[in-house]
């Protein structure tokens, strides 16, 4: 089976993030750029399926030129067979829907895939919209928030964790699946993987090359606009409850007031 994993480069999750004047994430600071952690789970899920069933894993990345490094240093060393990178100034500032459109267009040029796997969110934007939007654009069934994936003939089945238990959802392939943290334990690239990654095929395309209509993407053409934003307010001092023997009641009240109970 052939699997496409959509992967994004993000600033190190632990790094401080700032918005630039156009309301998009400031990517010019010197935070380390890493593979979106959720995409590590996606890549691992794809590698496991291919190891069990045969086939190939292709990474599809829409992102700046500098993201090549993330492909060469992480996704390919983990074991993916090849990568497609769509890079174009026109894509800068694309929102989730515009990004999903770009991915859908690029996917049209990938022959014979059975599954598209994405992380359920990227740690810089946290929208969780791209997988569902991609399912709309491609017209393929979308199975989201998978905590496990299995393939049975031409059916893909996932378990989705909900408030009250698991839902089992299945669809015929080809299909789109988004995975959550904890679906697996992403491997660290082995020495062989690291060495092999240097020579794996990486197909770089601009927007036109990927069949993307540039009037549909980029900051100006995105449907969601950032109107206003504020810096996160500094942390306020918490409330200190002295235990005079009645602290439990005060704590319970506080939890109730804040709708945590």
């Amino acid at each position: 089976m052939n699997i496409v994993v959509c992967a994004k480069q993000v600033p190190d999750t632990a790094a401080e993030k700032r918005l630039s004047s156009d309301g998009t994430l400031d990517r010019s600071n010197d935070a380390d750029q890493i593979l979106n952690p959720l995409d590590e789970y996606g890549t691992e899920a794809a590698l496991k399926l291919v190891e069990a069933n045969g086939g190939e894993v292709t990474i599809l990345m829409v992102g700046p030129k500098s993201a090549t490094e993330t492909l060469r240093k992480k996704a390919l060393p983990m074991g993916a067979d090849k990568a497609i990178q769509v890079t174009d100034e026109a894509l800068h500032g694309s929102d989730a829907v515009a990004t999903a459109y770009a991915l859908a267009q690029a996917l049209k040029q990938v022959e014979g895939f059975d599954l598209v796997i994405l992380g359920s969110e990227s740690t810089d934007a946290r929208g969780s919209l791209v997988p569902s939007a991609l399912s709309e654009f491609t017209g393929l069934p979308g199975l989201t928030f998978a905590k496990s994936i299995e393939v049975d003939g031409n059916v893909v089945r996932i378990q989705r964790e909900g408030d009250k238990g698991f839902e089992t959802v299945e669809a015929e392939m080809p299909a789109i699946v988004s995975v959550v943290k904890g679906i697996n334990e992403p491997r660290y690239p082995s020495f062989k993987g690291i060495m092999a990654a240097k020579n794996k095929p990486l197909d770089e395309k601009d927007a036109a090359g990927a069949g993307i209509d540039t009037s549909m993407v980029g900051l100006a053409n995105s449907k969601s606009k950032v109107g206003e934003w504020k810096e996160r307010p500094p942390k306020e001092a918490g409330t200190i409850v002295e235990d005079d023997g009645e602290a439990f009641a005060k704590l319970a009240d506080w939890l109730e007031e804040n709708k945590l109970l």
């Binding site: 240093k73 660290y188 690239p189 082995s190």
Partner: protein, 373 residues
């Protein structure tokens, strides 16, 4: 990238896991095998024998990162650094084929036995003998402080095969099975909280096939000297890792811990000594990398390897000690994992070569002072 993977794998086990091992008298086999399967134990073994075809520089990364994750792997220094090097350089094609692939894959470990009760710093005193008897050698004598014999499939033993005209011992090296008739082992209790154990070995007419002689008979001393530089350099790398672990712990703690309303890291009495340790650490690292680079290019590196070992040992002892101080009472707890690292850091000043022997070397070879012993 090698660094990231090794660090990631070791951290996924972590300090607490390591502590559980030594408390339960268990070995770190799982981590060793994991690193082996991923190709990191055999980085310095030639590719044709299943290794990575790289050098001491790269195996140093593994030593450093394992220690920096709080999971130091002492046996890398003997099995991967000394033994794999000696067999790659001096082994016959058959010997390489037998020993190197399992070592590269992390499936087997080879212990290294040179130290004897009466021959530690002075390897000319080696008294263990190997006497040729047809197709075999008979080994007789004692070895002491030999690490990891219980985890090893084989032991590389340095023994005396004769004396030259000046009465000096002529040495040879052999690979013996760790389990064999005529070899008894008893554990030496040490105060180092670590999964590896040290052993006293007794050879009593232990029969070793002559095919297990590595290199030429009587030429073992040259081989041993060649193996000692990788030992010193990787030992240094391990010390660097211990120092990093300690300084990382201390820095994190001092950013958060407040005693007088501000993080204690704001007090220069706390931050300056840590900063000094950091400088020591980085300088030691530079010398370690210099030594490894020279070694890998087949250039002389004795001076650099000794200096790196010295500097890294001192950096690791000082860093662990200073980190313990910065953590106050927590510096003594098992939870913060510093006090129980101190004996390992302290070991670096004694083994594989003592501080004094390094100073002797530098005095004599770097400064041209008269030989003192």
């Amino acid at each position: 990238m090698i660094r990231d993977s090794v660090a990631g794998i070791c951290r996924s086990y972590g300090r607490t896991w390591f502590q559980e091992l030594y408390k339960a008298d268990k070995r770190s086999t799982e981590l060793w095998e994991n690193l082996g399967e991923n190709g990191f134990i055999g980085l310095n073994i030639p590719e044709e024998y299943g290794g990575g075809g790289l050098g001491i520089f790269e195996i140093c990364i593994v030593c450093e990162e394992a220690a920096a994750a709080g999971t130091p792997l002492l046996l890398l220094v003997v099995s991967a650094a000394i033994n794999a090097t000696l067999i790659s350089k001096f082994g016959s094609p058959e010997q390489k084929q037998e020993f190197l692939p399992p070592l590269a894959a992390g499936r087997s470990i080879m212990a290294f036995a040179i130290t004897e009760p009466d021959a530690g710093s002075n390897s000319h005193q080696i008294a263990t003998t190997a006497t040729r008897d047809g197709d075999i050698y008979r080994l007789n004598g004692r070895k002491t402080f030999i690490s990891g014999v219980d985890e090893a499939d084989w032991i590389l033993v340095v023994a005396r095969t004769g004396v030259d005209d000046k009465g000096k011992a002529m040495l040879s090296i052999f690979v013996v099975d760790a389990e064999m008739p005529g070899l008894e082992k008893t554990v030496i209790e040490t105060a180092i909280p670590s999964p590896e154990k040290q052993w006293m070995l007794f050879f009593d007419d232990a029969e070793v096939p002559a095919t297990r002689l590595i290199g030429n008979e009587h030429e073992g001393l040259r081989a041993v000297f060649l193996g000692l530089n990788p030992e010193r350099i990787t030992g240094a790398a391990m010390g660097l890792g211990l120092a990093r672990y300690a300084l990382d712990k201390a820095a994190q703690y001092c950013r958060e811990r407040e005693v007088w309303g501000v993080p204690i890291g704001m007090h220069q009495g706390v931050s300056h000594p840590l900063a000094e340790r950091k400088i020591e650490l980085e300088l030691a690292k530079l010398m370690t990398q210099k030594a490894a680079t020279l070694y890998d290019q087949d250039l002389p590196c004795g001076e650099e390897a000794n200096m790196a070992k010295f500097a890294a040992a001192e950096a690791s002892i000082n860093s662990v000690d200073q980190a313990m101080q910065a953590l106050g009472g927590n510096g003594m707890t098992i939870e913060y994992g510093l006090a129980d690292l101190w004996p390992m850091a302290r070991l670096m000043r004694t083994a594989p070569v003592s501080r004094e022997m390094i100073l002797n070397f530098v005095a004599q070879h770097s400064l041209g002072l008269p030989k003192s012993y």
